[in-house]
Subunit: 196 residues, 2 copies
DNA sequence: CAGATATTAGGACGATCGTCCTAAGATCTT
DNA sequence: AAGATCTTAGGACGATCGTCCTAATATCTG
């Protein structure tokens, strides 16, 4: 903990990026060590197994997600505007998503197929978004359906990310964002002619 | 081509299932050969590289998808009912999707991360559904927005599959299916009080 | 400055990977 | 029955994987 960014932090950052771009199983110790510019022996000093570095990456993602959600809370007092910020992630991170998909969704799917023990921890990042979105819907007066609506917004983001990655179609992402923002606007008028 | 199911067909079927359950990169020649009950040498006689077996699996999926779409066409004259059949796949294959996600979406995402040359072929399965759905919307009189609506339905299925796999929540899938069927019903009333 | 500790480099290990080869057995043709 | 072809088995190969070990160097502590 001497340098401004310690070796350990550099390793986690490089592994995070490589897991995202190439997947967990396809990223080797050597690839991470090369990305940081250290030897495999040095890597082994900080992380003894591949599961350890995966756990560190997931923990790092949990923390950065918490930070992002906090930032959205301080940046927007209106719960609807907070939800819109989440909806627009697929635009904000558009290039990465077209290239590599959603970091949360793709890692969760991979760990499920690998039957990896860290799968629940990866899913916890989803739960973080889920609960935060549900809080916003609750604040909007939809407590009884907050979790359902949170999952709907999450499903939107995953569907858009998967197809954006498959087809690389930026216009499609814009259209779907507009569509879900319209849906959100309808939710904000609970006494409208249409139920739910 | 002597037996009712040739060795080659058995290999493709086993590889298809293993690619789905464990991912392409994580499925070895040995695992496929063991699943079929043959030696690795025999496997090599039929498929010389991993890319060859992947191409055969994708081709098999393309064909079975074409067959399924044809069956939906003969089984339902109403284009709206045909679209509903697609929407309900996430229920029909509910157990598999909760365990392993969508076969098309997860393979496409993995090949994208691996920068695999067969990525376009895997995406072609998506395109098959996309064009078929667009045809149905066109038949319903929505030619100008048929492709947009087809992508919307595709995005729904991918989002639902990803979250069903992450959370294993069957009720969520049912709710989302109901929601999209409601959306479809609204699309069928073009002169309604709501535009689009 | 000297000793203890933290950090790094680089190679070795057993296992597994995709790939390839050779030879034996099964099947078909005539 | 005999020869040609198709199909199968099983092992060997080089490369890479995750893991581990040892020794050298950097840094901190007194």
């Amino acid at each position: 903990m001497v340098l401004s960014t310690s070796t350990r932090e550099q390793i986690v950052a490089a592994a995070d990026r490589l897991f995202y771009e190439h997947g967990f199983a396809h990223t080797s110790f050597t690839a991470i060590a090369d990305a940081v510019g250290i030897s495999r022996g040095n890597f082994y000093y900080h992380f003894r197994t591949k599961d350890e570095i995966l756990a560190a990456v997931i923990e790092s993602r949990v923390e950065s997600t918490r930070g992002m959600l906090r930032q959205w809370e301080t940046g927007a007092a209106d719960p609807a505007e907070r939800i819109r910020r989440f909806i627009r992630i697929v635009l904000t991170n558009g290039a990465d998503i077209r290239d590599f998909g959603c970091p949360v969704g793709t890692l969760t799917a991979e760990l499920a197929k690998l039957r990896h023990p860290a799968r629940p921890e990866a899913t916890a990042v989803f739960t973080l978004f889920r609960r935060w979105l549900a809080e916003q819907f609750t604040a909007l007066g939809h407590a009884s359906t907050a979790d359902e609506k949170a999952l709907h917004v999450l499903a939107f983001s995953q569907g858009v990310a998967t197809l954006a990655n498959a087809f690389g179609d930026e216009d499609f992402v814009h259209r779907e964002v507009d569509r879900l923002e319209d849906w959100l606007a309808v939710q904000l008028r609970p006494a409208d002619r249409f139920p739910q």
